[in-house]
Symmetry: C2
Subunit: 258 residues, 2 copies
């Protein structure tokens, strides 16, 4: 009975997030439907992250315990033929029998994209947060370093989460100008916030992004972010940045499971 580790990408725009819910179009539901079409199996699958409505993924990992005898590469082709055009399977690998996509993840990396230009974005309008006023990238990066390490992130968590502890470890936080894509235009209008950690509380990346923007706009001093972290009170942090700017880039697992 093989266990598969399946990496998928999706445009979250038209999905009510990952998790299956009645009368909603979700990534889990379309994935399970495609799985049933190619194998005949009606299964419940697990993902590394239950991404919210409107959040995108480029390296979401899905774990499937199946009785199929279809080989991994044929599964990839079959799923891609059945899935709608806003979801794609990037790879299908055989995993250890005890592989669990949710519980065994050791690290995740997210990117939050901000379109920082006085003019609206057109081509990436469903993948960025439009922020017309100039942001101070260096100040955002500097202040963000206060979050790196093991901390209680209760200040950056939305209410109603289920979890035993709000302590998490951030391995890396980088705020940088988006890549220059073209020789014919000005510097990229995008600012990227990338955060990697061992796990994230509900809405944590978006709360951090919103707080970094408050500093980048000069509405809050650079010292405010570490004070907010110490306070461990959600009411203090900045606004939760909109879902559409967020993308799950990758998920790491122990070597023995990947």
């Amino acid at each position: 009975m093989p266990t598969f580790k399946i990496t998928i990408a999706y445009d979250g725009t038209d999905f009510s997030g990952w998790q299956a819910q009645p009368n909603q179009r979700t990534v889990q539901e379309v994935f399970e439907h495609a799985w049933q079409e190619i194998t005949g199996e009606q299964l419940r699958v697990r993902a590394s992250s239950r991404t919210d409505s409107g959040v995108h993924a480029r390296g979401q990992v899905v774990g499937v315990k199946s009785e199929t005898s279809i080989p991994a590469d044929k599964i990839r082709c079959g799923l891609n033929a059945k899935l709608p055009d806003d979801v794609v399977v990037l790879s299908v690998e055989l995993a250890n029998d005890d592989f669990h996509a949710t519980h065994q993840a050791t690290g995740k990396r997210y990117r939050y994209r901000i379109h920082n230009d006085y003019r609206r974005p057109v081509f990436d309008r469903q993948f960025v947060w439009h922020m017309p006023k100039p942001l101070d990238i260096e100040a955002m990066h500097r202040t963000g370093q206060a979050l790196v390490g093991k901390h209680d992130f209760a200040s950056f968590e939305s209410a109603g989460s289920e979890r035993e502890t709000s302590v998490r470890t951030i391995f890396d936080l980088e705020v940088s100008r988006g890549p220059q894509q073209d020789n014919h235009l000005d510097p990229s209008p995008e600012i990227w916030i990338e955060i990697e950690g061992d796990g994230f509380l509900y809405n944590m990346v978006r709360a951090i992004a919103g707080s970094l923007v408050a500093v980048g706009l000069g509405r809050k001093p650079e010292s405010w972010l570490s004070e907010t972290l110490i306070a461990a009170d959600r009411r203090i942090a900045g606004q939760t940045a909109p879902a559409q700017g967020l993308i799950l880039l990758k998920v790491d697992y122990p070597v023995s499971h990947s």
Copy 2:
């Protein structure tokens, strides 16, 4: 009576091209409608290029002769507030009285984007041509150099065009790997064909892109492109590449008009 040179960008996906047509959603129609909303003027405007249905633009130039007294920068803000989210005004400049966006263009640059990976694209699926089989970028670039210069491009023109001559000059043709956008993944799956010239026949860039792909796939030898050019017969060239991969990058005018 001011004349404006207005640079706009649009996602062509949901437009039946630039040119106004009855019962079609076109960029010209939404632009003229927005103009009327902010100035009260019901005008016919001209663009540098009548882009086809599904073709995108990042530097389309629109010429407007108006009697408005609204200053240029206010026009930009006003249009952007009225235009739908798949069109944006990038700049509004005062031009010479005799400025004509269509007739005075001296050069145009287009990009054709190919997603060259066995897996479907997700995020840019409306901006690329998906080509699952590997393309030989170097062969495409080498053979494309045969088109640079002043030639009769009748072989790369779709039927039904109105024009006096099919002679055009290509200034530059580059085939290259798309930019690396991310440190965490493999090389870019995109191949970009960029072509700059003094003007283009109907569907010429897409016919060239389709022909370069035939060479890149090894279906045609590298010598075939220059033979096709010399034949001056459209039936010989490759297929016309799909509209959605094409984007008008910029339009040049004589310095006195810009």
